[in-house]
Amino acid sequence: MAIHFDIVRDGTSFSARADNGATVPIGARVRYHNRRTGVDRFGLSNDAPHFGSAEARRQLYRATDYRGTHDFWADFIEPTAICEGQSFLSLNTYDRARFTFGFGQFAAHVPDGDFVRWFRDMLQRPEVVDYFPNLEVRGGRIVKVEAGRAAPLESASSTEPLQLYLNPTLDEVEDAEAIAAAKLIHWTNGHPGARLLQVQHMVATARALVREADRRLGLDGRGGDICCVVMDVRHQGRAGFAELQAALAAPRPYEALLEVGVVGEPGRVANLKLAMRSRRAALAARTWSRAAQAFI
């Protein structure tokens, strides 16, 4: 039966009570100023500076926990996970994606993108009746079922209905937005299978990004450390293939790649450098094979 969530607001902090039981911290209301448009947007975030409790940090992605299943890929995605907050519960609802969740920052605004693909699989899990009993996957698409009628929430060209379902506006934090966040946090926190699914999707995303970069840049025979930085740049979208190609052609490609996007994203680049410092040697021990479509 569906779990009932009551929203608790304490200043800018939001939490939820599940079935009148324990409180689930959600995050804090934050303001995001768009420098280009001058518009202020409001949403929830549980990134470290905003989060009032250690809840998000309680569910950190660690490669060692998933190496048994995902082998090298568990390590390959770890630097990017660290840069994205590393928390399985990571949340932000204030930017153009309207809803972003997990240590891979799966974002709801991309048709057939990482959030949509992950959420479809979440909706196949049996706990769905506890959290989103009115959502289903039909014909491969997420639909909302009301009074026996199914309304599509996403298609090959748009996720707007899904975005609006999860977060009705960017003008304020609405109950619907806080409840959707509370549900995903509670679900992910309470079910190891849900966390495993998040890892699976992040690995699939990383794999797809490496394959694409290989086609565009030629990564065959390149070390895992090089490929990892390329993947991180593409995952965050801080540079295009031309900049990456130039870095790969530099005398010291690894160092050059680590500088890609540093002007626009200095914090991210600094975090990546730090995350790579102790992991580079292990990642460099394998190379990408185009023939095998794997690190060997």
Binding site: G68, T69, R120, R125, P126, G140, L196, R207
Partner: protein, 210 residues
């Protein structure tokens, strides 16, 4: 030919009858002729064949979930005879197997079982008119005992037949998966145990029938 080879051959034959629809490891779907193939001819007719395996008169244009009928059909076609407890509900045949009454079939913990071709991987699911299913192997075993003793109703679940195992991956074929007979690739851990978050696996039916 060992029984498991016959079982796998039947599952593959049925997959081909449906045109080989598949869900890959990354979740992408290929080979689905329609979004809901089970509603289209000739596919609903195949579902009708599966219903016959459990003695049902349904012709395939009906609402009930048919995945257990598909499993029963595959075992019957493969020549299991009286060695399999045919049923249109997975928890019913799993309860019979879990009771130890069917030599060559046993219920195992998915967390400790290395999968082999011919096994069934069994997952809980929800749906219309489904009660809350057990979430773990231990809870499922307890529920199966109660079902076998007639002290509990069945619950909703799903099984697929393991048709291939390779490094880190397993291919399974099941009925009523994405409204078709679908081959799904799941992730295994390094030891060969199921480790995939797309379903909540609550059991493995080890198949050593000869």
């Amino acid at each position: 030919m060992p029984f498991v080879d016959d079982l796998i051959a039947i599952a593959r034959r049925e997959s081909l009858r449906w045109g080989g629809p598949a869900e890959r490891l990354d979740g992408s779907l290929v080979g689905f002729a329609y979004p809901r193939m089970e509603n289209k001819a000739p596919y609903w007719g195949y579902v009708g064949d599966y219903w016959q395996a459990v003695g049902s008169g349904l012709d395939g244009r009906d609402a009930p979930a048919w995945s257990a009928a598909f499993i029963s059909y595959c075992f019957k076609e493969a020549g299991a005879g009286a060695r399999f407890p045919y049923d249109q509900n997975h928890s019913k045949y799993a309860a019979a197997i879990g009771s130890g009454s069917f030599a060559g079939l046993s219920l195992e913990d998915p967390a400790t079982t290395v999968l082999a071709p011919g096994d069934l991987i069994w997952a809980s699911r929800t749906g219309d008119d489904c009660r809350t299913p057990p979430a773990t192997f231990a809870a499922a075993k307890a529920e199966l005992r109660r079902i076998f003793q007639g002290r509990a109703d069945t619950f909703c679940s799903h099984s697929d037949i393991v048709v291939a195992v390779r490094g880190g991956e397993v291919d399974v074929i099941g009925g009523n998966v994405k409204q078709a007979v679908t081959r799904t690739t799941y992730k295994l851990d390094g030891a060969g145990r199921i480790s995939d978050g797309r379903r909540n696996f609550i059991g493995v039916i080890r198949d050593t029938l000869l």
